[in-house]
């Protein structure tokens, strides 16, 4: 039973290897590194249906090889791999691979997810995940040069002007302190991306303040009061429990 299963896996894997990537094909290639065949199939079906091309590996070693030979537009990496720690795979990939990596992991492992994000993963999803959510994350991650360079960012009734250091809600200026503005601008520039507590604290307050999560709580609460329509039901500044914040500019 065991043998036949792994043989079957190998066969499927092999067929993926041979599949040629024609230069004419404009679809983006996504590499899936996950040891569970069911998850790989699910991802393949979902992604192919949404105009992505997929290549697959069921272990970390093959994953790195495939990444090197195909240079995919994005990698979906499962943290629980049979041969190596997913974090090590991520580290190896990040030595040269600059395209986005999205982490797929089992639930209840916030520490692990934070480590992965701090080591260069762009986003994460926990199993079980909604495919709609996955596609949204992929779109955000692969969006070219995000909104970093935009001087004026608009999200519904909220406008952020980076040159003038001003934010408007319904065309009216929102009174923000400089720290509040920096925080808002940082999150907005990375629209759709999860930023860890540590990362935000480092960016806004500096290296010595990465443990001072109370700053972040206070300022996020304050910002919500100023920019959200209903601060108790935030739609812009989304909490990623135990991990960080995500700006959702829908």
């Amino acid at each position: 039973m065991q043998i036949s299963k792994s043989a079957k896996n190998k066969q499927i894997k092999k067929s993926r290897y041979i599949k040629p990537v024609t230069p004419m094909d404009a679809r983006q290639t996504i590499l899936i590194i996950d040891d569970e065949i069911q998850i790989r199939r699910l991802l393949e079906i979902t992604l192919t249906a949404n105009d992505y091309k997929t290549i697959e590996a069921d272990n970390g070693k093959d994953g790195c090889t495939l990444a090197a030979s195909f240079n995919p537009a994005l990698i979906i990496l499962d943290l629980g791999l049979p041969d190596q720690d997913g974090l090590d795979v991520l580290k190896k990939l990040r030595e040269w691979f600059t395209n986005p990596v999205i982490i797929l992991s089992a639930r209840n492992s916030e520490e692990y997810i934070i480590k992965a994000l701090d080591r260069g993963a762009n986003d994460y999803l926990t199993k079980p995940f909604r495919t709609g959510e996955l596609l949204a994350r992929i779109r955000v991650a692969t969006r070219q040069n995000s909104r970093q360079q935009e001087a004026r960012m608009e999200f519904g009734n909220l406008t952020i002007d980076q040159d003038k250091h001003l934010a408007y809600k319904n065309s009216e200026i929102i009174k923000l302190t400089s720290t509040e503005f920096s925080l808002l601008a940082l999150l907005a520039k990375n629209e759709g991306r999860v930023l860890t507590h540590t990362y935000i604290l480092k960016e806004i307050w500096g290296h010595g303040y990465t443990e001072q999560t109370q700053y972040l709580r206070v300022f996020i609460a304050q910002l919500r009061k100023k920019i959200e329509d209903d601060p108790s039901k935030p739609t812009l500044l989304i909490t990623e429990s135990g991990i960080g914040y995500r700006f959702s500019g829908i």
């Binding site: 209840n108 303040y209 999560t213 709580r217 206070v218 609460a221 601060p231 108790s232």
Partner: protein, 367 residues
């Protein structure tokens, strides 16, 4: 378990039992002129008997032997020799030995027996608990699996005349069942964390509305049929606790509310802060609980008489565990005029937001 008990304290037991025999002997030696050497034997015997109540067999036997020798050497004339001159005293000494030994052995036997009985009872209770767990688990696991298998079978039938509406409903059932299984696994994992003593809370600063809102978001779909009222005290400070655990606890209580109150009921969440404690009151205007429910509700595997699908009797006991890990409490009572009312209290450190804001703004001007 028993072996460990011996290993850990056997040496200590030997030392203590010998010391107490010597101590009693010393006191007797001082007062032997008043009490006579024969009553010394009784006092020593009493000491050995008391030791036998608390200690295991070997230290007691040792104490018995030692006390007999001490009595012989120091008290029975002629003194400072093991030689006994009177035949009467020889008899007494022999009797002393026999009684001390029987005393020691008998008491330790009784204790061993008691211990075995206790272990048996514990084992019995554990088996009963596990039986309950596995009964409810297998049922709770099989129901969603049966739904998934049935629904997929229907959907995979080539020539079926299932309407599109029904197809969508079947797909919806598969989805619901999957999430139910997931929730069950979450609860099992949480239970295991509590049971194994591996649960370490990691308190961090968090904001109260975030804390209340995440479980409400997770329950978005379930709460559509209910009216929610949320009241959070103004000017709430930021608090320090393990947000993950508290959110899970609130989720479990609220999820229970959605399961056990009829549609269109009102669930209200009131949060205030007093005397370094967060008070969260979650109440509803449903049917409330029976007296048995009220006393048993947080007991592991307890399920209310009005069983609703999707429960294992774990949810609320996890709530209690998570809150207790924070030094907090949860109480349940019936609401007036009807319904249930859960009162949660969590002690916590706080920071007043306004003070903090002006402070940190002044100190951390950033470009």
């Amino acid at each position: 378990m028993k072996l460990q008990y011996f290993k850990q304290s056997l040496l200590k037991q030997f030392i203590i039992s010998n010391l107490s025999v010597i101590f009693v002997a010393l006191i007797c030696y001082i007062s032997v002129d008043f009490i006579g050497y024969r009553s010394v034997a009784l006092l020593l015997l009493a000491t050995v008997s008391i030791l036998a109540i608390f200690f295991s067999l070997y230290p007691v036997l040792m104490a018995a032997t030692m006390s007999a020798l001490i009595w012989d050497y120091f008290f029975i004339p002629p003194h400072f020799t093991f030689y006994v001159s009177k035949s009467e005293d020889i008899l007494l000494l022999m009797m002393y030995f026999v009684i001390a030994l029987i005393n020691g052995i008998f008491t330790s036997r009784v204790r061993q027996f008691e211990k075995l009985e206790r272990q048996k009872e514990e084992r019995h209770n554990t088996i009963k608990l596990y039986k309950t767990l596995f009964d409810s688990l297998s049922h709770e696991l099989r129901t969603p699996i049966a739904t998934i298998v049935g629904a997929t079978d229907n959907l995979m039938q080539k020539e079926s005349n299932i309407s599109n509406v029904d197809k969508l409903e079947l797909i919806g059932q598969i989805s619901t069942s999957a999430f139910r299984l997931n929730r069950l696994i979450d609860n099992l994992l949480n239970m295991q964390r509590l049971e194994s003593g591996m649960l370490k809370i990691k308190p961090d600063w968090c904001e109260i509305s975030e804390l209340i809102n995440s479980p409400l978001n997770w329950l978005e779909k379930e709460l559509l049929t209910h009216n929610m009222q949320i009241e959070i005290q103004e000017e709430f400070p930021i608090v320090k606790l393990d947000a993950g655990l508290i959110e899970q606890a609130l989720f479990n209580v609220l999820h229970n509310e959605t399961l056990y109150t009829p549609p269109d009921s009102t669930i209200s969440v009131q949060v205030n802060y007093k005397n370094n404690c967060i008070n969260i009151v979650i109440s509803d205007n449903g049917k409330g609980f029976t007296d048995e429910d009220l006393t048993m509700l947080f007991t592991k595997f307890y399920r209310s008489g009005t069983k609703v699908a999707g429960g294992t009797g774990l949810g609320l006991s996890i709530v209690k565990g998570f809150l207790e890990a924070h030094g907090g409490t949860i109480k349940v009572e019936n609401n007036i005029p009807h319904g249930a009312k859960f009162s949660i209290k969590i002690p916590t450190e706080t920071l007043k937001m306004d003070d903090y804001l002006s402070f940190s703004n002044a100190n951390f001007k950033v470009s």
